[in-house]
Amino acid sequence: MFTVRRWWDRKGWQSVLLMVVIAGAWMLRQTQGALLLELYQTIASPFKMLQPGISIEEPIRDARLLELQTRVADLESQNQKLKNLLGYVKEESPSSHLIPARVVGRSADHWWQQVTLDRGTNAGIQEGFTVKADGGLVGLIESVTPNTSRVLLISDLKSLVGVTVSRTSAKGVLRGDSSSEAVLEFYEKVPNVKIGDLVATSTYSQKFPSGWAVGKVISLDLKRAPSPVARVELFPPIRSLDWVTVYPKTGNGD
């Protein structure tokens, strides 16, 4: 009798604890690990000073140049159109309130391309804000905790960005490929595009501001069955992001 009771005492306790643990794990899952991320941020913050700053100047400057080149090409084509539509003036929202942030963590899984930033709602970041690094668009804020935020990178498999080829305004969707390249699927059957063309975010994009540099076309497959595709080399160094800038959501839906 005694042994049975003792067994029950131990197993009973164990099953209660097990339930508590499962419930806790489920809660963490539903809150997107907010508690864990905060803890991670607390632990990681002293170590940030040890990380080397931006050490490789050359590729950064290169990326910057490419970004500006894309901007210029985009502005030129836009300017041409504006001349045609004489009198058309587009109101640009003043790009105030930028939030600089630093990458403190990478993705916790091979399949998703995410990074964790060291700023959150306390710094004014909200879900849906866009993230930019030297070189151009990097991603979208996916979830926020008080002191951290998680960014879905444009190289992720589930990321979709409406983009346009700056030279010819050929439109398409940029799909991530979990690498430093992405796949651009065109809407048109015969898009006017060639290797080396620069790609920027499209005015059609609901989630991202238009005219941000994204990448450069490095190969083309125009005979692909559902829609022609191009491989695009992304300008921002997705693999080694350090400092990024978070931009508030812009109403680009008009």
Binding site: R29, T31, H110, K158
Partner: protein, 202 residues
């Protein structure tokens, strides 16, 4: 089985133990020991969770880091029952969901990994420890990547082609990396659990 000679007398434990750390451990109250055991369990899982987003130099291969939770699940279930393995896998899978995208869930792949590792019954068939653990982790990493890839395809939001292309690139790298780092998690945890098991047999 050697332990059975000592016939449950805790007073004699210290004299008989070979390893020095057992001596203080054996004198502890069983409740305290249980508590410390839970703390070690939670602490190691928490450490593995917090290691997931970091990439220390040398830990990266093709842009991916080791899946510490998978290594933990294998270390846990290798000397335990199938049920314990499945439960641990599901719990850690839910935790990993919290650290990254929750859809599709990681609980399925890690649960299956835990169950299968429990099924192997390593202690009965394989005596040697390190290489067999590395091999088990290697196989389980490939398995979990496969299951996760299948989940992605079955969800229907992703084209099978792109998932397959990524799977080919990542499965082998992940398996190699995980099996190389497996002893780092396995050795201390196994050491501790062996000791606890030894003491509970008194």
């Amino acid at each position: 089985m050697k332990i059975s000679r000592f016939s449950g007398n805790r007073q004699r434990g210290p004299k008989l133990s070979k390893k020095s750390l057992i001596q203080p451990l054996a004198r502890w109250h069983p409740g305290t020991r249980q508590l410390v055991n839970w703390l070690v369990m939670f602490g190691s899982v928490l450490l593995c969770l917090l290691m997931l987003p970091t990439r220390f130099p040398g830990m990266e291969l093709l842009g991916i880091g080791p899946n510490w939770l998978l290594i933990w699940v294998v270390s846990w279930s290798v000397k335990r029952s199938v049920f314990a393995g499945i439960i641990a896998g599901i719990i850690l899978g839910l935790l990993q969901d919290g650290m990254t995208s929750p859809d599709p869930t990681h609980a399925i792949s890690l649960g299956i990994v835990g169950g299968l590792t429990g099924l192997i019954q390593k202690q009965r068939f394989i005596q040697e420890d390190f290489i067999s653990i590395a091999l088990i982790v290697f196989g389980m990493a490939v398995l979990s990547e496969t299951i996760f890839g299948l989940q992605l395809v079955l969800m229907g939001d992703y084209s099978g082609e792109s998932v397959w292309a990524y799977y080919q690139r990542v499965a082998l790298a992940s398996a190699i990396l995980n099996s190389l780092w497996a002893p780092v998690v396995y050795y201390p945890l196994n050491h501790w659990w062996q000791k606890i098991k030894l003491l509970e047999q008194f």
